[in-house]
Symmetry: C2
Subunit: 406 residues, 2 copies
């Protein structure tokens, strides 16, 4: 007997037929003798519809009212799935965020979960009742509905799994697992059987949209084994676990990419101590998140160039901010560039293996691809290249690290 | 300075443009220096959509889950209207049933309100904040959402008005008041300036769909002055008040009708004490509501006929039930008839005036309309006639009581 939390995304509950299929999947788990809590998203398209209504009223809406409106989507799905389970003879009831309660902070629209009171839920799971929990939502200290931001149902599921001390958290989605690279680009990409939290975290934050980054962080922190699997096909999916549960660790687990990058070069900044602070201080104050940074070695000791990346959406405000500071910064000119992508090689194994970066640089060089910026972390090497090389580069790296399927 | 509860029905909040119009109406009331709490229905069509989803899962749904699903409609409207008010500079917040809380019993799907905790709402109204309350919903003792049945937002509004000791409860709808007769049938029908609770109650229960019957009962009980007015046109509407607030009481205030009637005659029942109980006992046990009843005087002392009416939807189960009891009841045969309508003449004044019934019977006789069943209450005379006479009869009665507009 295991205790399992399942999460079904919007495409998995897109209509009544799919909700019935989900109910069958839940029942199968119950029939295996397991205790099951199921977290559901809004029916596909419903959150967009509700967000559209809010935007239609005003672009500057009160986030508390926004949360009141958009949380209705998951509320509807939770009731419908509970009914569908009951028609299959499975005892079930829906739970809204405020009924459990799942406590959140007051940062409406992208609230964080501060606690889950799971005692009553656990008692009912032990009695054989399935809990159908509305994802994406909780209740703030002032008894307003708080939502967790896009993809928040993943986080709801992991928080619930942690509070229930579940044996596993199964994330059902429209892909059948985590791949060594985007299968749309690399035909020979392989599905991973296991991956570590750390690697998954790098992949998630690099745009592999399988899991919300925050849900992976939370699973890692609480040691909740995550499984990513398809709600449309059978199969074991990919297990996201602690490093020590992976017997044979590959040096590199996958190749990720992100198109959501924009590069800015500040040309001819006076080369003096504190220059980085003077460039990046105002950006940080404005809440703009800077990713990769390179400062050239000054040749004449007089002026240098600083290059960095931000998300595409933040390019325009970044340029505006730096132009406003031109007098104070004393640079010659700005060179913004949107035609870039970030490629990353990810793997726990690179901590103990030399030559991983060299292989990346060689593979790109052999294909005539120029590297613009490099950044590294303990388990990841990222490079910025021109956008037109994306597919070529991902395939070259996938082959170079021996990831291609036989 | 007055404290006003307003209620806007589904057609009044059917889309974002109409929600903006509603926000302007609320603002106008605030600008007059009044405290305002606004109760909203779901956007027109939304409740039907949600009910359709529930029925799509199963016709025999758990009413608690049904309530979880269908209450989402009012939740969305409340958030949107609060936002729309804020954009006009009016401080406002949405309130869901469980947040106030509006307490209901556990008869899910058609729950009754058991209490409204309005202290915090009243405090905020005094501070100038508009409360935008999701109608139709409350919270049960077990912290599940309870809904009040179709038209329940009227009852939400009146309950809130009673709890807030509001000076008035304005029901905004798609008609501009209560008429002496259905204006689609009687071109010379007049809009009433005032009507008593008792008369409104008779009209509401007779199918004039302006107000939910229960909301009128509750307004009468708590002495909440109700106003029915249009959200699409300006005008004072009709005020529903206590009898002593009406200076010149007409003998008859209006002519109502109901098409939702079916007649059953049980022919040749043995004429002995207890026959009525033996016929109507099983119907009552089955929850079938019997309206008009006539028992013929037996001519031979051996057998008699019993005629009664039920709603059209309950005709089939009524006939089935009586046929199953045929042996016990010993009647000769059943004669069901769906081609009937009920006409009612309503007026407080008839308590102190003789000849009101006579005038009704004469007017119908003069038009060659046969009366099948008669029933009376203190302020109402109802007759059952063949359906084809509906328009003729309503117009004849309207003229006979001097109700025609000049």
């Amino acid at each position: 007997m295991a205790r399992i939390v399942q999460k079904f995304g919007g495409t998995s509950v897109a209509d009544l037929d799919r909700i019935r299929v989900v109910a069958e999947k839940v029942k199968a788990e119950v029939d295996r003798g397991n205790q099951v809590a199921t977290v559901v998203s809004a029916m596909a398209g419903e959150t967009d519809r509700l967000v559209g209504l809010c935007r239609g009223v005003t672009p500057l809406h009160d986030a508390r009212e926004y949360d009141t409106v958009v949380s209705a989507g998951e509320q509807v799905t939770s009731g419908l799935l509970a009914m569908a389970l009951q028609t299959l003879g499975v005892p079930a009831r829906s739970w809204l965020g405020w009924q459990i309660p799942i406590a959140t902070d007051e940062v409406h629209g992208k609230a964080r979960i501060t606690g889950v009171e799971a005692t009553e839920l656990a008692r009912r799971l032990e009695e054989g009742e399935v809990a159908v929990v509305a994802g994406f939502q909780g209740v703030s200290p002032r008894r307003r509905i708080g939502t967790l931001g896009r993809g928040g149902s993943d986080t709801s599921a992991v928080a619930l799994a942690a509070a229930l001390r579940a044996d596993r958290c199964d994330i059902y989605t429209d892909v059948d697992g985590v791949y060594t690279a985007d299968p749309r680009i690399v035909r020979r990409a392989r599905k991973l059987t296991k991956i570590t939290y750390e690697e998954m975290l790098e992949m998630a934050s690099l745009g592999a949209k399988v899991l919300q980054t925050r849900s992976v962080e939370m699973a890692m922190k609480h040691g909740v084994p995550l499984r990513v699997l398809s709600s449309f096909a059978d199969g074991p999916g990919t297990l996201v676990v602690d490093e020590d549960e992976i017997v044979e660790q590959e040096i590199v687990s996958g190749i990720a990419y992100s198109r959501d990058e924009a590069k800015v070069t500040v040309v001819g900044v006076p080369d003096r101590p504190g220059v980085a602070a003077s460039v990046f201080g105002p950006l940080a104050d404005a809440g703009i998140n800077v990713d990769m940074i390179v400062q050239n070695v000054s040749e004449d000791g007089q002026a240098t160039d600083v290059t960095f990346t931000v998300s595409k959406a933040e390019l325009a405000p970044t340029v505006a901010l730096l132009e406003a500071q031109r007098g104070a910064l004393g640079y010659r000119h700005l060179r913004p560039d949107e035609n870039v992508v970030k490629l990353s090689v990810i793997g726990m194994g690179m901590r103990s293996h030399a030559g991983v970066a060299k292989r990346m640089f060689s593979a790109l060089a052999e294909n005539g691809i120029n590297i613009q910026v490099i950044s590294t972390s303990e388990i990841k090497i990222s490079v910025l290249v021109a956008e037109q090389y994306l597919e070529l580069a991902v395939r070259a790296l996938h082959a170079a690290y021996g990831l291609d399927a036989e």
